[in-house]
Amino acid sequence: MAQVTARSKQKIATAVIWASGVVTALILLTIVLYILAKGLPYVNWQFLTTAPEGGLSGEGGISSAIIATVYLIAFTIALLIIPGIGTAIYLTEYAPDNWFTSAIRYAINTLAGVPSIVFGLFGFALFVTALHFNFSILSGALTLVCLLLPTLISTTEESIRAVPQYQREAGFSLGATKWQTISHVILPAALPGIITGIILCIGRAIGETACLYVTMGGGSAVPTSLLSGGRTLALHVYYLATDTRASEKAMATAAILVILIIIINTLTNWLSQRFHTRMVGRT
């Protein structure tokens, strides 16, 4: 008798799991397909290459938003790479087990949980107001660096830790110094992992809005220097959705964002698979 109840329980539970799991997955997939279906028909060459004109009807395209996004991300990543990778090397290879190291670890973990808008507020107080960078790409990029630093540190750390210990020992046994071992053995071996981390950061930067909303100003003109304001694609979606009636243009921009994220995901998956094969050897 107990067998029978356990069996029927198993059947019911499996059915419930299937139903709720499939429903959940369908909801999520519908969101993506909905955006692509509604947005992509409005994407064309003209949309990509004309500047937004502003106004209630939201005329024009998204060229200035594309340019601002590219500027912002290039500058952010350029600033981010050295401190991010440097910290990861320090934490994995050099850091002694003391209060300083644990303070840094605590700081990284805490920063990873701080909401984007709080970073934005900090950027607003320090870069926009106190340092007089005003609402600009520079302020936005510096704020983004603070926001992304924990992500890059932890992904880089993981990929450095994945380099087998014997490779380090081989380096040392050849008479290489510690830094030579790191720069010639460990970093090249960990490179695909590090690049994956950087691409992940680019993905987050593309989607980030709250901290840029309060540091970049959101002007729709084409940015001419680091000190001019601008709006990224993600911010453009927000402005179109809230300030104009051009919901189809907002959808089109959102569709472009989704496609960018799909490309980035495919790239990181491919890279981390290659990295994995390289670490464990070909199977």
Partner: protein, 274 residues
């Protein structure tokens, strides 16, 4: 070492700046008035954060109530029940959704969910819309981390349980889920963090009115929304009060993390496995 200090310095700088700008509000307005005052009206020098605190909590709890059961069910499906081919299709889709920008969720909320809720009553810009949008945003996080942690349970646990004659479901419910609970807990905590910190999608669907939400259909405002909506034109005590909002937000996040971490430490040491 210089590089490594940077993240520490950034954290310190954030705390110092937010406190420095926010403390005048605490002293001028009074900590009690600020935290429990029910009026937020900068033009009349009224700065009470309680409506926003309630708004943030209601929206976070609501979205968790929806997302946690669905997320765990979906994770069990992916990790244990579904055949490999279904898994291979769904898993990348879930990972993709983790990366979808929050404005995109907000946009779909504005164009699809808000009009749907308007049919039921009110303007549509409501707590309910915010809960639904947040649910969709935190689901992928909860699913992918829970899935990972269920699959990380050592295979011998499962084999041991099956060998004793337990059904697959009994094994999942009594062995795998308890063994994976710290990972599932971490997933939920991350979900809470994302829900409390979410800004743009919330501004877009919740209506941003400073009132106590008295039903699911009434508009509200979150702590994050309060900062984002007003910071660009605020000055003086008003700006300071917004920084104080960030202090409250940070305090929430730190308290939440500490509580949940303690619960899970106790839970784990109770069963004796790491």
């Amino acid at each position: 070492m210089v590089c490594a200090s940077l993240s520490f310095i950034i954290l310190l700088a954030i705390i110092i700046f937010i406190l420095r700008e926010g403390l005048p509000a605490f002293s001028k307005i009074g900590i009690f008035q600020l935290l429990f005052g029910t009026e937020w009206s900068p033009t009349n020098n009224q700065y009470g954060l309680l409506p926003m605190i309630v708004g943030s909590l209601v929206v976070t709890c609501g979205s968790l109530l929806l997302a946690v059961p669905m997320g765990i069910a979906c994770a069990i499906l992916l990790a244990e029940v579904a055949p490999v081919r279904v898994r291979q299709m769904l898993r990348p889709a879930v990972e993709l959704l983790v990366g979808i920008p929050s404005v995109v969720f907000g946009l779909v909320g504005m164009l699809v969910i808000v009009p749907t809720i308007r049919q039921i009553g009110g303007t549509g810009y409501s707590v309910l819309a915010a809960c639904v949008v947040l649910m969709a945003m935190i689901l992928p996080t909860i699913i992918s981390i829970s899935d990972d942690s269920i699959r990380a349970v050592p295979r011998k646990y499962k084999e041991g349980s099956l060998a004793m004659g337990a059904t697959h479901w009994q094994t999942i419910w009594h062995v795998l889920i308890p063994a994976a609970r710290s990972g599932i807990g971490a997933a939920v905590v991350l979900g809470i963090g994302r829900a409390i910190g979410e800004t743009m999608a919330m501004i877009m669907v919740i209506g941003n009115a400073v009132i106590f939400p008295d039903s699911l259909l009434s508009p509200a405002r979150t702590l994050t929304g309060n900062i984002a909506v007003e910071i660009q034109y605020a000055s003086g005590t008003h700006a300071s009060a917004l920084f104080a909002t960030a202090v409250v937000l940070l305090a929430f996040i730190i308290i939440l993390n500490t509580i949940t971490m303690n619960i899970f430490k106790r839970g784990i040491s109770g069963t004796g496995n790491r």
